[in-house]
Amino acid sequence: MELRFTVNGQKQVLEVEPQARLLDVLREQLGLTGAKEGCGEGECGACTVLVDNLAVNSCLVLAHQARGRSVTTVEGLAPSGKLDALQQAFIQKGAIQCGYCTPGMLMSAKALLLRKPKPTEEEIRMALAGNLCRCTGYVNILRAVQDAAGTAESGEVRKA
């Protein structure tokens, strides 16, 4: 079945099985291995990509659901080679350890900032609730998103 859509600004026409998941098409047919599979059931967010600027779990979406839409993966975050503010902040704030959750985290955070450029801490926490990380305890991820949004308070994370 033919699938026409845009991925990271590039128009694509592919022959895609009707049941193929978006995640597999991105990784296997387009070689965009940034999005990861951590659970395959919508629980971990490692596979998060943007579809028309909304964050979706690409393990739960059929590729054909993206017909005519615009998909952005982590590879598309820095199209001109210049890092996105989020990428810059993740690197500088120590929000990356093993890095396996990072592409998904970045895309969920990107969707948030596109919708809400100055989110509150609570909004960040809720927007990233579906992205699991085992390495960082989320502490520096929160700081990085705040930093990219320009809402970082100096010093420690919120006091209770």
Partner: protein
Amino acid sequence: MAVRGNLEDSENRHETAGPEKLKQVGRSYPLHDAEAKATGRIRYTGDMSLQGMLCARILFSPLPHARIRRIDAAGALALPGVYGVFTHENTPDVLYNSQVWYAGQEALKDERLFPDTVRYIGDRVAAVVAANEQTAAKALGLIKVDYEELPAVFEAEQALRTDVPVPALAPWASPFFSKEISVGHVDECFEAPDAVVIEDRVETPKIHHAALEPHVCVAYPDHNGKITVLTPCQILYSVRLVVATVLGLPFNKVRVLKTPMGGSFGGKQEVTLEPLAAFFALATGRPVKIQLTRHESIISTRTRTKTIGYVRTAWDKAGNLLARDLKTVIDTGAYTSNGAIIGMAMGKKAFRLYRIPNQRYRTESVHTNTPVAGAARGYGSPQIHAITEINIDHAARRLGIDPVKLRLRNLVRPGDLDAGGGPPLGQAQIIACVAEGAKAFGWAQRRDAPHGTGRFRRGAGMACATHSNGYFGGFQDFTTMTLRMLEDGSMILNSGIQDLGCGTVTSMKQIIAEVMAISPDRIEAPEGDTETSPYDVGSQASRVTHVAGACALHTAGKLKEKLCREAAKLLECAPDEVILQSERIRSAAHPEKDCSYGEMVSLIQEKNRTEIIITETFQAQDNPGSYGADFVEVEVDTWTGLVRVVEVLAVHDVGRAINPGFVRGQIYGGVQMGIGYALTEDIAVDPVSGRAKGDRFSRYHLVNMPDMPPVRVILIEKGGDLGPFGAKSIGEIATCPTAPAVVNAVNQALGTNLETLPLTPERILRALACQ
């Protein structure tokens, strides 16, 4: 790499300033591969695709214990695109143990590629190797297996019973391992008439490491009979040992390359998929990838060892800990793995946190028909500290003494020896951790604050822990490294390191950079390759910073000596008159004749006919304790039984932070893991069916971002031990005090004595109902 330190580098660090002013050590550089990770450019093993690569999928046992009568693979083999079906009938029957990391290591060997009797739900029955995942999955469904079901046992204490027959799981009796360590006169202390005796039974769950990257491995053969294994592993040389043993290959025909690690926490420390992938590659002559799903990773790889602890302490009225009697029952699951040594690892820690003149530790390890236990962050420390620290708080309540005061009275002090006979504790700064932490947390106020009487109750708790710094005193521990300076002044460190995402590569660079007066980004430090890298014991036992880091320091020191010696000939001065500064080199007498490192190395090659290269072996000579204390405030919803962790303060004695940002990162992650251990995480093997209930992420709950409390960190950096610049371990100790601190806080909030982890809503509500 941006050459700037993190703003927080000076924050919350209690240092005893060393004589030298450090330029590179103590700065928070980003990870060497952070940008590759942030852009999706990095290739994890699952992202790799090789020409002609096949995919393997494994058929896992649906039964907890069964003899395989017959396997009919005809249907699977007939499917186009299937290259092979592998079972116990056509694979090596070589027995191995997945946790051995050096040749000659003693361990019970009871695992093979495919057994003829499956021992747990998740055991390997067969595998299909096919052109792609879909075909392999389809073929798996066509394999017919005829099982003869056998009786099974799912609970460790059931496996120890002598009054009922226990199903034979292994050729060894149950327990298959038991041991006792004893000092002083334990029984007498408990019999003393005025002793206050506090007794607990603490249970810790089998948990999943939950690295976001599920287990994965690629192997390929070459034209000369060599197998190359690409694996995100922790111990390259352990993988080589097991693969070569199972395949019957010389060690130099097995090449293991460490690939980027998508998280491990001990879960990828043991050898699981590698011998399978290597065998399939050899058998088919093609590259083969095995990629597990989350569900498969949970049930079929390794778990944290479920442990039942019996602890009795004897105290005098003033709060002196007179004696402790400890017993652990170790449930290693269906295969032995590290089931013997982990009980000992737990026991050894029990002698290194408090001054206890009389103590006995006994451990018994059993097999059950449940997922296999193995290495897991802390290697028994989270278990033993949950057991003992819950008991200490119980004692504090009974004695009417504040838990912080009670601990301060009994904790070890810097310079103490190990009463159990292990290596000296070194600069054990746990008292400083507790004292500083109590102050910064506002312990006294929070502890005395009213708990509330309504639906929500608040409580504060804390706990302490210790962990090791390598294998010195237990097993051989050394590392070899080769360091070179090239003709342009850049450097290459060639070593067997494996970075688990914690910053090993960058830390090594910082250490070398400090010695060589060079910028860390001028150093290349690739991870290990068993064909070309010198030997390393592995990223295990919290040894990397302390031991491998010390090796980097010594090697760099030797290289600097050589550079100065050779440069002195050209600068016509004595070697000790050569000055290295900001990647330039000169003699003290003629500072105007200053040249770059690259120019000097080129000149040395041309005139002195030699290379600036050093290979150095470093042997560990100490194994001090790393220490940590966590302070926690919780709020418990007495209607739902849900616990919210309000705030955590973690104070750690790390000797010296090579990269404080990395150290904090380890602590934040350790706290996340510890909260899960205390409250939500459990594979939860059903005692009737043997099926894991927490067998996927929708039924296995990691702490997510909304539930993660703010975490404050204080680092105690007083140095003094033999790690590089005094550095000690952090990755494992980071998670050790958290769970008992959370449990102690909940018990304070509710006035309960909960001691079975995790504190699920059901357990909390049941305890409240009993009040």
